[in-house]
């Protein structure tokens, strides 16, 4: 029988997800023995036309990474959806918007203003902005693909079958997911595959160092302490998001004595990562004084950026509520 067809595509991606696939190293070669890669812009010279020529649903699975930032991304993923039996949101950006999703804290105009006018190096007296451009004397039009008002996770644009978490997914997680998909007995639609069903603490080497009652007097910033790498970072005051984050990465950041920032996202029973993370941090804070709570909040510096680092576009509000003019 013929090998299943696989497509890989990136939207508003940094390429880290692609790199993580390349990091399968020799496994890439194993993979190529069992599947046909029909589309992978970064590594293979197949073009979108090739995809368009394919019959509907003829691609077994499309792995799409990156958030939906430009109208163009929207078009490509819709094409892939129609050609694929399964669409897999690969990596944090595709699954929940990822770090570029923090752009949803600002309006499109504010972003353009900063990038093309305000930054100190820009010289732009004519006030030029990239937009669909008409060269009057040449009489031609150059379409600059639209920068959407908000960055969207993949599932806000097309139907998504499975999610592979991580920024980026580790080779192990990617490989697990591929095994699951090849195995044939697939989990329910919408499942997160390849990673753990428990929070990071479950696999964290420092979890056993927690005291009996997990309460902390104050939050600490990484700028102010050098934590003992052998003790639970949360207990030492660093707002580690391990407890509220899906496991499966092998506690990479904690191994480097840095707190978890949540790139594997929330667990199945949680519907808003940031709100849940906030509730957990507030719960372990050991004070009954409002002023003290506010003081400790300062230590977190940036609630939204910290607690929605990878998931703002997928959060219940999707970003900042824009004041109506």
């Amino acid at each position: 029988m013929e090998k299943p067809k696989i497509a890989l595509y990136w939207c508003a991606s940094c390429g880290g997800c692609e790199e993580s696939v390349v990091d399968l190293a020799e496994k890439v070669l194993d993979l190529i023995n069992v599947v046909d890669i029909v589309f992978w812009p970064v590594a293979l010279d197949f073009k979108l036309e090739d995809v368009e020529k394919l019959p509907d649903k003829s691609i077994t699975a499309s792995f799409i990474n990156g958030g939906i930032r430009l109208s163009e991304h929207e078009k490509v993923v819709k094409l892939l959806r129609s050609k694929s039996q399964y669409v897999i949101a690969y990596g944090a950006c595709s699954a929940w918007g990822g770090i570029p999703g923090l752009a949803n804290l600002y309006e499109r105009d504010e972003i353009f203003k900063r990038v093309y006018f305000e930054v100190p190096t820009v010289v732009n007296e004519e006030g030029i902005l990239p937009r669909t451009y008409e060269d009057k004397n040449l009489g031609i039009k150059i379409e600059v693909t639209e920068f959407l008002p908000r960055l969207l996770p993949l599932d806000r644009v097309i139907d998504v079958d499975y999610y592979i978490p991580g920024c980026p997914p580790t080779p192990d997680v990617t490989w697990n997911a591929i095994q699951i998909l090849l195995s044939g007995n697939l989990p329910p639609k919408g499942s997160v595959i390849g990673a753990s069903s428990r929070a990071l603490c479950d696999e964290c080497p420092l979890n056993k160092t927690k005291p009996e009652k997990l309460l902390i007097k104050e939050f600490k910033r990484v700028v102010e302490i050098t934590p003992d790498p052998e003790k639970c970072l949360l207990v030492q005051g660093l707002p580690c998001l391990g407890p509220v984050t899906r496991g499966g990465c092998g506690a990479l950041c904690i191994n480097a004595a840095m707190p978890c920032t949540g790139c594997f996202g929330m667990l199945d029973r949680v519907s808003d990562y940031g709100a849940k993370a906030l509730s957990y941090l507030a719960s372990v804070l050991d004070t009954e004084d409002e002023k003290e709570v506010e003081k400790q909040m300062e230590k977190l510096v940036d609630l939204v950026g910290r607690l929605y680092r990878y998931s703002l576009p997928a959060s219940k509000l999707g970003g900042k509520v824009i004041k109506r003019r």
């Binding site: 991606s13 940094c14 812009p41 930032r69 902005l129 040449l138 920068f147």
Partner: protein
């Protein structure tokens, strides 16, 4: 009318870098536009974030060179908090950084650009990829490349936490010292690295330099632009990726400027074009003169060739040897041949490998003191490194809590954007004549592209290493004549 002819093909050709060529009445190229569709706005949404989070946020600009952003950002934090990391911390950072440079350059040479040379420009597209390369050099070599990269990347995973989007950089040092196990592994990998880099040079010589065609291609005028060059140099004006002063030379190889990164705003400015999200940096003192090369144009270039051009030499023996060899063969400094970037890149691989070895054998990297806790109030911080694709600058302003108020990012590929546009223009001029379009233009431009190893994730914050291209050719009436796609 115009609208009709343009919309339809574009929807068919999403995901492509768009090149629009407009002909004059004689049917010669009058003007060429190059448009890379991407923008994410990091400069804006950095605002409000905690400064100490930037080394983890900014790597998401580019997952191909996350370490470069992580390091530039971490150095900006040292500066922000006015704290000088312990010597050991600096050495470990530089070590990790060179490991990164080595594996990233290897990725580019063997997997992204290699196909052009190893498989051959005329080979069918389906073979022009890593699989094709393996077919040509043999599975063992393929495995060797993949294996080497894996070892290097695993090592960085152990030291930096994550190899894609590292976490170990903190203001005043790094999060954790190196333990004995890692050090042991380090020393063995270091030796292998040097051997691997020299092997890569041999591959390049055997396959590329031994082939007259390729050499002509490299030196051919189509790939040549006389521009300024920019790069970091150490106190002896030798190439350095991690630290140093920014040196700029003019098209004749004379030092035009040498400055500390804190003065970058006096030397570098950015130009905005309405038809692309990419901003075009230029030398402020000379100004933006449009897409032309030469001494009177502010356009300059970065990345391996530029770095070697601005430097007086390499800091390690084998690299220095290869450095001299290249310039001798290509007729002295500066070299303006874009394709020479591949060669320069391999020379940098050798330097990186040798530097790894030096640091791996330095007993000081085992020291446990790798962190100084900052005490001063933050306000402004600027950091610079040489990313594989060129000079990378991060510039933050914060409130006294260390919350970012303003951020400016000058990223590697961006510096080359103008020069890439030049290549496109030049290609258009030489391949489109009398309304006839030679399809060789596709190959030619694509190869020029690969030479820069343009990472548009950096330049505009998306990757399109494969540079799929679409050429729109209009007549002087503004009517679309034909659309060319590089298949």
């Amino acid at each position: 009318m115009v609208k009709e002819v343009i919309i339809d093909p574009i929807t068919r050709l999403e995901g492509h870098g768009k090149i629009i060529i407009v002909l004059d009445d004689e049917g010669n190229c009058q003007k060429a536009y190059f448009h890379i569709p991407e923008l994410r706005g990091f400069e804006k949404f950095a605002e409000g974030r905690a400064a100490e989070d930037m080394p983890q946020i900014t790597p998401r600009i580019c997952g191909v060179c996350p370490m470069a952003h992580h390091m530039a950002s971490t150095k900006a934090l040292d500066d922000l908090y006015k704290v000088d990391p312990p010597r050991t911390a600096k050495k470990i950072r530089e070590l990790v950084y060179n490991i990164f440079m080595l594996e990233d350059h290897a990725l580019h040479f063997y997997i992204l650009a290699g196909p052009d040379f190893i498989v051959g420009p005329t080979a069918p597209k389906a073979e022009r990829n890593i699989i094709g390369v393996i077919g040509k050099v043999g599975l063992n070599v393929g495995k060797k490349v993949i294996g080497m990269r894996k070892k290097l990347r695993d090592l960085n995973t152990k030291i930096a936490g994550k190899v894609i989007h590292p976490v170990f950089g903190v203001p005043g040092g790094i999060s954790k010292p190196i333990n004995e196990d890692i050090a042991k592994e380090l020393r063995s990998v270091a030796n292998e690295s040097v051997e691997f880099a020299l092997f890569t040079l041999k591959v390049f010589k055997d396959i590329v330099l031994s082939n007259k065609e390729y050499v002509n291609l490299i030196t051919s005028d189509s790939y040549t632009h006389k521009t300024y060059y920019m790069g970091l140099v150490d106190d002896k004006n030798r190439v350095n990726f991690y630290d140093g002063k920014i040196r700029v030379i003019d098209p004749y190889g004379r030092e035009f400027a040498k400055f500390d990164v804190h003065e970058y705003q006096n030397y570098i400015a950015e130009h905005v074009e309405p038809w692309t999200y990419v901003k075009f940096p230029f030398l402020k003192k000379i100004g933006w003169k449009g897409f032309i090369d030469g001494e009177n144009s502010g356009i300059y270039s970065v990345a391996p060739l530029a770095r070697l051009n601005v430097a007086d030499g390499m800091a390690t023996p084998h690299a220095q040897e290869a450095y001299e060899e290249m310039f001798n063969m290509l007729g002295g400094k500066p070299v303006h041949h874009t394709l020479a970037n591949h060669w320069a890149r391999i020379i940098e691989m050798i330097y990186a490998a040798e530097r790894i070895k030096e640091l791996a054998e330095d007993p000081e990297i085992m020291d446990k003191n790798v962190r100084i806790i900052p005490t001063s109030t933050p306000s402004v911080g600027i950091g610079v490194v040489e990313a594989p694709r060129g000079t990378l600058i991060h510039h933050y302003e914060t409130d006294n809590l260390g919350r970012i108020i303003k951020a400016n990012l000058l990223v590697a590929t961006q510096h080359n954007a103008a020069r890439i546009a030049l290549s496109v223009d030049k290609a258009a001029k030489s391949f489109v004549k009398g309304g006839k379009v030679d399809e060789g233009i596709l190959n030619m431009v694509e190869m020029a592209f690969r030479a820069y190893d343009p990472c548009h994730a950096c330049a505009t914050h998306t990757v399109s290493n494969s540079i799929p291209l679409a050429f729109y050719i209009y007549n002087s009436k503004g009517n679309l004549l034909r659309v060319l796609v590089n298949e």
